[in-house]
């Protein structure tokens, strides 16, 4: 099977994730979409690793997972903090850091 198929899937998943990040306002969904984007990248990495018969891409994929886990921890922590302070759960409303 050609590597192109994998890359097409990866690109589709990535685009869905990016579109979600840009359009959705619920921070939980935004985080989910970010995960989609990261995992789309993982698919591409593993596809390339398989193509070259080399393990480096797989290692990268594992590192990306670790980073993704960390990022989700912080993101969810922020969501909980926002919820506790009874602020709106909406990324557009949380804009106090504007210039």
């Amino acid at each position: 099977m050609s590597v192109s198929w994998f890359l097409v899937v990866s690109a589709l998943v990535f685009s869905i994730g990016a579109a979600g990040v840009l359009t959705r306002r619920n921070p939980l969904v935004v985080l989910l979409c970010l995960e989609l984007m990261l995992n789309a990248a993982n698919i591409a990495l593993i596809a390339f690793a398989r193509m070259w018969g080399n393990g480096d891409g797989q290692i990268f994929a594992i590192i990306v997972m670790v980073v993704a886990a960390c990022e989700v921890c912080i993101g969810l922590g922020l969501v909980v903090a926002i919820f506790r302070r009874r602020l709106p759960i909406d990324v557009d409303e949380i804009r106090e850091l504007h210039g």
Binding site: A18, V21, L22, T23, R25, V30, V91, D92, I94, R95, E96, L97, H98, G99
Partner: protein, 666 residues
């Protein structure tokens, strides 16, 4: 001798540091004792140096000790060096001796003041600065000491810093002294340019060679040095700060504005005598200014009614004599008068402090009268100081003033003008001194004097500023609640008694035909003088007779005007109302300086602030800031806080970059 010479400087420095850093740990009174002991130590060191100096051969009595070099490179030799010679040791002895007594006086006088420790820290710092000035071995150290002294004077005049009159007097004194500092520094440049050394002895040794073809530069430099001397010694027209400096505590007036600091100008001229002898023009300027000052100050002294200001004007007048003497070449006579003046003027100020205390802070002569019985000791001191100041025969002032006028007369010719001015000044001195004493001590006792006779020291119901009448409190920054008079404080009596004895007998160190102790002692310093002023025997005797007649006549005149015929002073005032107006307004010097210097300068300041700053500064600097502001406003607009907008920008950016590389690679 080296150790003791350095100790003269180190003792007061140690006193300053201990009192200023340790005042929280030390018990309150201890700062006063430490301060006094430090100065007494300096006096002992000065005395040891004096003894060691006398042991040396006469031609090796000018020694320079150098602690370290600041910058010794091509053309500049800046060292921390002191010059020990008869003149500097003489000055050190006078300064430390009188300072010790005044510190002792202050221990009692300032007891109740909330700023007791601060007072002694400042006072010690002043003595240190003054000793740096007189011991300096080169121009650099001299300038440093000169500036320190000005700063110490500022601190002490504004000692009661919540009194607005005192702070503005301090600022005035400081500004005028800085004018003098500038003169001193510029004058040093003029001299250094041709002598190529900062060292005093080096400059003097080669002066006649260096300035042989640069006499104009020398005269300019010396006149600039004289500006410094005039500012420090309160000579016309830079004198207006001295009467205002009386806002400081009375011991300060006694120490700084009578006995020591204001004589720095006299010392400077005497120290620079080898240069002044090369430039007749500069010496003549000094002589004329001294003569004018002694007349101007004497006439003002006749009219003012503030007790301390009368003494301040008499100080100006006496320093006029000294400046005239040392400029005219009568060095020993000028320094002799410096010494006797330090004794009797410090005594008069101390007695005035006691009298002001008895008046509860009031200083106006109009309100004082009849204190003779109430304050016998203060009265005695006033009489002794007054006799010496008005050169009563056989007191110290008699011999010193006479020697000045005799020496100047010995130059003959046009110099007789200055002798005549000196005698006119002597008449004025006797009259205004005894006017002050008669008004304060004779006549019906005033309320305060009667209370004191009954054993009760008067206190104002509300502490007030004697200059403006404003109500004050007695916390730090204002005078303390209790006043101290000499009759009730042993320290004050002790200090005043010693000075009274010195004011009476101090003149016997140098009596024509009998002794010439001071002249012999100072001779190594002035050995190279080309002027050898020795009045003939006839001149000396005539001088004695004229001096005695003038002094007794002046005192008698004052007695007639203010005691025997009480209404006469008013009559004279009305008869000569024009002169009286001139004198009581201090010859309008304040107004003149205000018109010529202060107002143009203030106008220039306003112009700078309102026009120059608004147009030029705001134009240049303002447009630059506007550019930055506009740029940052644009950058700020992007930071709108929409998280999704940032994400979109990122995605668009990455897509554009990706497309670019795709197009490139194909």
């Amino acid at each position: 001798m080296e150790t003791s010479a350095w100790l003269i400087l180190l003792c007061p420095l140690a006193g300053t540091l201990i009192t200023s850093f340790g005042f929280r740990r030390l018990p309150a009174r201890a700062t006063g004792i430490v301060g006094t002991l430090a100065i007494a130590g300096a006096f002992a060191s000065a005395f040891a140096t004096f003894v060691a100096l006398q042991d040396r051969a006469e031609d090796s009595r000018q020694v320079v000790y150098s602690a370290w070099d600041y910058a010794v490179t091509v053309g500049v030799d800046a060292k921390l060096s002191i010059l020990v010679d008869p003149l500097s040791v003489f000055m050190a002895l006078v300064v430390t001796g009188v300072s010790t007594l005044i510190h002792l006086y202050s221990v009692a006088y300032m007891t109740e003041d909330r700023g007791y420790a601060r007072f002694f820290a400042y006072l010690n710092f002043f003595v240190f600065s003054m000793l740096v000035l007189v011991m300096a071995g080169n121009f650099l150290i001299l300038i440093a000491g000169w500036a320190f002294v000005g700063a110490a004077s500022y601190l002490l005049i504004s000692f009661w810093y919540r009194r607005t009159t005192a702070t503005s007097a301090g600022i005035k004194a400081f500004v005028i002294n800085v004018v003098g500092d500038v003169g001193l520094v510029l004058g040093t440049f003029f001299i250094f340019r041709h002598s190529n050394t900062l060292d005093f002895l080096g400059t003097f040794d080669s002066a006649s060679k260096d300035f042989a073809s640069h006499n104009g530069a020398l005269t300019a430099g010396l006149i600039l040095l004289l500006v410094g001397a005039f500012a420090k010694s309160a000579q016309v027209p830079l004198h207006t700060w001295l009467p205002d400096a009386m806002e400081g505590p009375t011991p300060v007036s006694a120490l700084i504005h009578a006995a020591t600091m204001v004589t720095a100008g006299v010392y400077l001229i005497a120290r620079m005598y080898p240069l002044f002898e090369l430039s007749d023009g500069a010496a003549l300027v000094g002589t004329i200014v001294g003569a004018v000052t002694l007349l101007v100050a004497g006439t003002i002294g006749l009219a003012v009614t503030d007790l301390k200001r009368v003494i301040a004007y008499s100080t100006m007048s006496q320093i006029g004599y000294m400046v005239m003497a040392v400029s005219a070449g009568a060095y020993v006579a000028g320094l002799f008068h410096l010494m006797t003046h330090a004794f009797f003027k410090a005594l008069l100020f101390m007695a005035a402090g006691s009298l002001i205390s008895a008046m509860g802070g009031e200083q106006s002569l109009d309100r004082m009268s009849g204190f003779r019985k109430a304050m016998p000791f203060t009265f005695m001191c006033f009489v002794i100081g007054g006799l010496a100041l008005s050169a009563f025969p056989l007191t110290s002032g008699f011999f010193s003033k006479d020697e000045i006028l005799g020496d100047i007369a010995a130059r003959g010719g046009g110099w007789w003008v200055f002798v005549v001015i000196g005698y006119v000044g002597a008449v004025l001195t006797a009259v205004y001194t005894w006017r002050m004493i008669f008004r304060a001590f004779w006549g019906e006792p005033c309320r305060e004097a009667r209370e004191l006779e009954e054993g009760h020291l008067h206190h104002a119901e509300q502490p007030f500023n004697p200059a403006t009448g404003e109500i004050e409190d007695t916390q730090v920054g204002f005078p303390g609640p209790e006043h101290v008079i000499a009759e009730r404080a042993g320290e004050m009596r002790g200090a005043m008694s010693i000075l009274a004895v010195l004011a009476l007998v101090g003149g016997f160190i140098q009596v024509p035909f009998l002794t010439s102790g001071l002249e012999k002692f100072l001779d190594p310093t002035f050995a190279d003088s080309r002027l050898d002023l020795s009045p003939s025997n006839g001149l000396v005797i005539v001088g004695f007779v004229v001096g005695a007649v003038i002094s007794i006549g002046g005192i008698y005149t004052a007695f007639v005007i203010w005691v025997r015929r009480p209404g006469m002073s008013t009559q004279i005032r009305e008869r000569f109302s024009a002169a009286y107006t001139l004198f009581v307004n201090k010859w309008y010097f304040d107004e003149l300086i205000d018109l010529l210097v202060v107002r143009p300068w203030a106008w220039f300041g306003r112009f700078d602030q309102q026009t120059f700053e608004r147009v030029v500064v705001n134009g240049l600097v303002g447009s630059a800031t506007n550019v930055v502001k506009a740029g940052s406003a644009a950058a700020r607009a992007l930071q709108n806080g929409f998280l999704r907008a940032y994400a979109a920008l990122l995605v668009v950016g990455v897509v554009v970059v990706a497309f670019y590389f795709l197009v490139q690679s194909s």
